[in-house]
Symmetry: C2
Subunit: 183 residues, 2 copies
């Protein structure tokens, strides 16, 4: 699995054939299929593992923040911190998700991701309810939040030396302004 993630991240999802993954792991192709039943299962477990890893410890840090604005900052910094520290994982997640969207029969994964989006939307809605955020469609803001996280993955995909700390800081101020009250 580790090897699968590496291949996807470094060579792209399209190049991540079972043979290529097996070669990287130093085993025969059939060994991969012995442990994973079929390729879809491999991909699904990769996606699950990566997304689990990406949000590890984030809920705790969010709970430690008192205000909604602070939680928002923590979320951005945590997620981009993960991308920066686990570039391979982040790239694999980006690649896999992009491909998964178009390939057929992956509705379960899409549904899961949408559920995560709902959580973020609810967070913005709650921030509005308590009066911290101004008026905006929380769903649209949630979509843009996710796009911002994905953008971090794109950054390191195009430039491995990208300064994600500065990028995160920019995103924090951007969303801070975008969620302000008053017109």
């Amino acid at each position: 699995m580790e090897c699968a993630i590496e291949v996807i991240a470094e060579e792209g999802f399209a190049q991540a054939s079972l043979a290529r993954v097996a070669q990287r792991a130093g085993v025969a192709k059939s060994v991969v299929l012995y442990h994973f039943a079929n390729k879809d299962e491999l991909v699904e477990q990769v996606l699950t593992a990566v997304s689990m890893a990406s949000i590890e410890g984030v809920p705790a840090r969010i709970a430690a923040a008192s205000t909604a604005r602070d939680k928002l900052r923590v979320m951005i910094e945590s997620l981009l911190g993960f991308v920066a520290e686990h570039r391979t994982y982040a790239l694999a997640a980006l690649e896999t998700w992009n491909m998964t969207r178009s390939l057929p029969g992956r509705l379960r994964l899409v549904a899961e991701r949408e559920k995560g989006a709902d959580d973020i939307r609810d967070f913005f809605a709650e921030g509005q309810r308590v009066g911290e955020f101004g008026e905006f469609d929380p769903r649209v803001m949630a979509v843009m939040f996710r796009q911002a996280i994905d953008a971090a993955g794109l950054e390191i995909a195009l430039d491995p030396d990208a300064d994600l700390r500065a990028f995160a800081a920019e995103l924090v101020t951007l969303f801070d302004r975008a969620t302000r009250r008053q017109s």
Copy 2:
């Protein structure tokens, strides 16, 4: 080519084989290769055609706007208007771009897209220079602008009946706030 765009948009880039495109066009596979040399050329021309179509008339409308904030609004509304009116084209562009990024040897196309990103970055920088925009990294803002446009494509990919007009309105206010002066 029209058929290629349709297949990519409706069935996904991965399913858009030469045979599938030819079948859709009602011709033999070899006919496609007679007109396009190879698949890469087809993809490249599709991407070119779609991106040309997406910005058709946009420069004129931008020039008609006087302030930078107005130009920003016009850009968002124009691009999302295109997505709404030519969903097939927009979906094909999204699909193709996503795949192209990972596939090898497509550096030319990536470079072209990056040039377009530079233009948007310069637009934001100019807006800052004349004092209309506040302080932020124009490159990051340009990245998020592009992500916002892509988000529109994702919207119609997940829900064909998505209300892009409302989505555009939300984006306009979002970016309007994000580019405001003062902290």
